[in-house]
Amino acid sequence: MGLEKLKTILKNEKTSKTLELRTPIIGASGTYGYNSEFENFIDLNCFGAISTKGITIEKRLGNDGDRIFEVQNGLINRIGLENVGIEAFIKEKLPVLKQKNIDFLLNIAGSTIEDYEKLAIIAQENDIKALEVNVSCPNVKQGCLEFGLNPNSLFELTRKIRKNYDGFLIVKLSPNTSDIKALATAVEQGGADCISAINTLRGLGIKIDYIGNKFLKKTVQGGLSGTCIKPVALYMVNQIRQAVKIPIIAMGGISKLNDLFEFILAGADAFQIGTANFIYPSICSNLAFELNEFMIKNNFKDFEHLKGAIINE
């Protein structure tokens, strides 16, 4: 079964910059590794792209202590951006991506504006097609989310990255804000080609048991992901759709075909799948197949008429 119908072109109408994806299904950053870790479970040719684990200038070991906390229909993580660093990525991971012909978004994070600029330059030098700028990671003490929650800094940051990078520039937004529209607008005006949203919600997981006259507790403060954040993600995506014209890669709790339709209605042009990969490691290819089948069966060319149909409030 060919997946031609799923071919997706994300286009910044203003600059005509585009990103072509085989399918609109992308493995979300932090849940898909660096390159081909999932190849036992999925058909690498049938999904759109990987968003790499967030890459920083230096290698990072991430947080100490418990990193994962399960909640109802979701997950709190505090990985703390453990990653190999940009140098090792370019040397060890990039060749595999190229060799296996895997499309990818390079997800980057920094603690200073200079970090982001440097990463953008390296991406440019290495001819990396698409950059996903993570300004929304709640799990590091410095930087990252700081830039992501203030429209002015976000505008500046986007502009500076844009100056140094010619490829398809995606900025990933945080839902931990009172005004996502202002953030989206800042990103668009700063010159980004696309917005991805949402990153994790801030959450605190506490497990407490009274055993043998003592309270035993376990706590993990970090980012909340999974089905439980879907209503928030739909809200945020819909707000962004109302604020900007550039395309949106939507995520947050996607795990089934109907979720894709819901996000299309809210305004999504493509999708990322995060937490669901842990439960169903084949989900990215399965969703692509299911979507394709649905389109063929019901004679859909695309979903343009549905896109962002909800813009009531």
């Binding site: 849940t31 999932f38 990193r67 909640v71 993580n77 453990e82 990969n277 439960i279």
Partner: protein
């Protein structure tokens, strides 16, 4: 063996003591190694649940796991019936190394006995001298198959003597972290290798999420390793214990 997602069938499920169930699962899986584990979908929970492979029958492709009741995930699994489907990733993780001419001590504390039973069986096949000692809190909790069961006390109580008497020159163990830590320290003192099977809360169980990290010291450098992919078996001496 590449790890894959299997839909197996419960061939049998048996309560083997007051809170442990033995599941035989048949599927298409061709092979797996001693020390590896599987990661089982529990529809009532967000995350899959990891379980050590306790036995594997290659002829009829049947895996055995032992499940000790802890919370909702294991409760769900214990409620499965013969012929029910079970969705799991397997085989996962690294495996035990074998050394033909050594006398191996196998130590299973509590449900940690599960991978040790598989290891013992393989060692027996390979004619490797081995002695499996297990520890349980009460008589009711004993899981059979060891050469010696310690009930009450700790598996570590007389272990130094045992190591000397049996001329042990390698240790393999699985159980609570504190047992593994002490055993590793003892092994270091006695200058014999010690392999331990670790546990961590897991999200992806295939090495991508970095949720199950352990720090190891190798060549004086501290680095992160994933329990799910680089492990669950590590050399005790390399582990940076909390």
């Amino acid at each position: 063996m590449k790890s894959k997602n299997y839909i197996g069938k419960i061939k049998s499920i048996k309560k083997i003591n007051n809170d442990v169930y033995k599941l035989n699962i048949s599927s298409d899986i061709e092979d797996c190694k001693c020390g590896q584990f599987i990661s089982v979908l529990c529809p009532n929970k967000t995350l899959r649940r990891p379980f050590s492979i306790c036995d594997f029958n290659k002829e009829n492709k049947t895996l055995t796991i032992l499940i000790k009741l802890k919370g909702e995930g294991t409760k769900y699994l214990s409620s499965l019936k013969e012929n029910d489907e079970i969705n799991f990733l397997a085989p996962l993780g690294n495996s035990f190394e074998f050394f033909e001419n050594k006398n191996a001590l196998l130590v299973g504390a509590g449900i940690g006995i599960a991978p040790m039973l598989f290891l013992k069986k393989e060692m027996n096949k390979k004619n490797i001298n081995n002695y499996l000692i297990s520890g349980f809190k009460t008589d009711e909790e004993i899981i059979k198959g060891s050469d010696e069961n310690i009930v009450g006390g700790s598996v570590l109580d007389n272990i130094e003597e045992l190591i000397k008497n049996k001329k042990i020159d390698i240790i393999y163990s699985c159980g609570p972290a504190i047992v593994l830590k002490k055993l590793s320290q003892l092994a270091k003192k006695l200058n014999i290798p010690c392999y331990v099977a670790l546990e961590r809360v897991m999200a992806c169980s295939i090495g991508v999420c970095r949720g199950c990290i352990i720090k190891l010291i190798k060549n004086n450098e501290i680095n992160n390793f994933s329990v799910c992919k680089d492990g669950p078996i590590f050399k005790g001496e390399e582990i940076l214990w909390d």
